[in-house]
């Protein structure tokens, strides 16, 4: 549906140049919800704006639905843009227009009669659950309601693609959920391909099928959301995942030198990542018996990502040096990934 070929975008300011996007190639399939995650300044917005050519890439080609947008004239591009909806973090509604007038904007001047426009607007308002706000002005709406109006406006011309640039970043968690459900609904019911830009892994986890991780203008990792969560390769990806997970609080405790994670000589603060829910309990008790160690669980969590369970446990592994090392080796043998977060090195061998 969307094909980006070797997209680069360089900004030239007075005394410096910024390579906002560097040689990015992506393929986004029809009907999927595709996430792009990265820290602020990674180039996400620039990349997504290259899809509808709000930003013209310095190099590379953009195809949407088989048409090469980068080869189109201004007029033809405008026509193609009607098939690509876009919503923004700051909603970008017209303050001087009512909700229904905002939604009608993309329908005006397309040869539609006033009645046709009115009935389409009504339909859209019902779809985003805002029928009672038709005559309100944007300033009278909450953030979530504004974003619903923006979504209705983006859907007016029945687009095939919806680009969302940090669409939930200005919203509270509850409202974020409801907007994400709406995006999910329009993806399922209308078959619209959705591209989501975010800096929150929780957003990716909730509705995306595939995800690309961006850093310094490059896509450093890409794949199914489940695979990325199960076995992230790059440090930045791990960081993003850990921020969404309860396990991250362990790191905070460690930084604060909390007594909860205070280790005795020989102790290992271990993180066990498991992929199946029923694996962990029997495995831990088996390890305890076999190597005469204890595993004192501090945190454990299990989450459902893309319909499959994923999770991990953090605890203190205590026992003889040999027992501890064997226990860790045993986990690995059983294909359970472990990560030593901290080791109390009392036995210094000089």
């Amino acid at each position: 549906m969307i094909l980006l070929e070797n997209i680069s975008k360089t900004f030239h300011a007075k005394d410096n140049t910024v390579e906002a996007v560097r040689d990015v190639s992506l393929r986004i399939d029809k009907g999927e919800i595709y996430g792009i995650i990265g820290y602020s300044g990674a180039g996400k917005s620039t990349l997504v704006r290259c899809i509808n050519l709000l930003e013209r890439p310095t190099a590379g080609k953009v195809y949407v639905d088989g048409t090469e947008l980068t080869a189109l004239s201004a007029g033809a591009l405008r026509k193609e843009r009607k098939k690509i909806g876009m919503i923004f973090q700051q909603f970008n509604l017209m303050a001087s227009r009512t909700v229904e007038q905002n939604i009608a904007l993309p329908l005006e001047g397309c040869g539609k009669t006033r009645e046709e426009i009115a009935s389409r607007v009504k339909e859209l308002l019902a779809y985003v659950d805002l029928s009672d706000k038709a005559k309100a002005y944007p300033s009278q709406l909450s953030g979530g309601q504004k974003q619903r109006v923006a979504i209705a406006r983006a859907l007016a011309n029945e687009p095939k693609v919806l680009l969302c640039d940090e669409a939930t970043s200005a919203l509270d968690p509850q409202t974020t959920k409801s907007i994400l459900s709406l995006l999910n609904k329009l993806n399922k019911e209308l078959g619209i391909t959705v591209v989501i830009i975010t800096h929150e892994m929780a957003v990716i986890k909730r509705i995306c099928h595939r995800v690309a991780v961006m850093e310094n203008g490059e896509v450093v990792e890409e794949g199914n959301v489940y695979d990325i969560f199960a076995s992230p390769q790059k440090q930045i990806t791990k960081d993003f995942i850990s921020t969404t997970s309860m396990l991250s609080s362990v790191f905070e405790l460690m930084e604060d030198d909390s007594p909860v994670v205070a280790l005795q000589r020989g102790d290992v603060l271990l993180r066990i990542k498991y992929l199946q829910a029923d694996v962990s309990e029997p495995l831990i008790s088996e390890v305890s018996k076999r190597f005469d160690v204890t595993f004192n669980i501090l945190f454990s969590n299990l989450e459902i990502v893309d319909h499959a369970p994923i999770g991990g446990t953090v605890g203190i592994l205590r026992g003889s040096e040999e027992g501890v090392n064997n226990a860790i080796r045993y986990f690995e043998e059983k294909n359970v990934k472990t990560e030593v977060l901290k080791r109390c090195t009392a036995y210094l061998k000089i």
Partner: protein
């Protein structure tokens, strides 16, 4: 009533027709040059907005030419502009004096100021809204008329009020070169012939007109702020 006024403002009451004519002249000068300057200023303000570096039809040459011309005309004091424009005025309207002769320099004195006012009024329109309009696939014309001018109505009304009030001041100055109007009336009688009541009455009339304009302007701004 009539008696009291004759005592209070004898020099005004002795020439009501002239006062009426002066008021009418001021009105004609402000209205004619105002309407023409409004559309020219709007035009140049929009051109500046869309041709600037991040504009929707960015064009450095057009921007620089208009931008620099505005700066040049704005730096010329109006009283000098009046004489400077004389040959051009004669060529356009056939005379350099009277209400007709004043209109050309009034336009030249107002358009640069108003263009700048419009430019900054339109700069207040949220860039994100312009982007959303581009993403929707609106043409540049539609973005100008449906987004910039519509979203900017409040700021444009504010700029217009300011400019019209400014323009009334300029017409009073144009009066000094024989253009007629309230300014001319006040100078001829109030200043030159020491008829102080004439000065006071014209001042009160101008203050009343300006107040009325300000109130109307504020009302339009308020009506368009949601």
């Amino acid at each position: 009533m009539h008696g009291i006024l004759e005592n209070l403002i004898p020099n005004v009451m002795s020439k009501p027709d002239e006062l009426w004519q002066a008021l009418l002249d001021t009105f004609v000068m402000v209205a004619l040059s105002g309407i023409i300057a409004f559309f020219l200023g709007l035009f140049f303000g929009v051109i500046l907005t869309i041709t600037k570096r991040e504009g929707i039809l960015s064009n450095a040459v057009i921007y620089q030419v208009i931008d620099k011309s505005i700066n040049v005309f704005r730096s010329i004091p109006f009283i000098i502009l009046l004489t400077l424009m004389l040959p051009l005025t004669r060529a356009i309207v056939g005379t350099g004096i009277g209400v007709q002769g004043a209109i050309v320099p009034l336009i030249f004195g107002t358009v640069p100021f108003f263009s700048r006012q419009i430019e900054s009024a339109l700069a207040e329109v949220d860039n994100g809204v312009i982007e959303a309009a581009q993403a929707i696939g609106l043409s540049s014309g539609a973005i100008i008329f449906k987004v910039y001018l519509r979203e900017g109505i409040g700021s444009i009304a504010r700029a217009t009020t300011l400019t019209v009030i400014n323009l009334i001041g300029l017409t009073a100055m144009a009066g000094a070169v024989g253009a007629g109007g309230l300014g001319d009336f006040a100078i001829r009688y109030g200043h030159n012939r020491f008829q102080e009541d004439v000065t006071w009455v014209t001042v009160i009339m101008i203050v009343a007109i300006v107040t009325l304009l300000q109130v109307t302007g504020n009302w339009i701004v308020r009506k368009n702020t949601h």
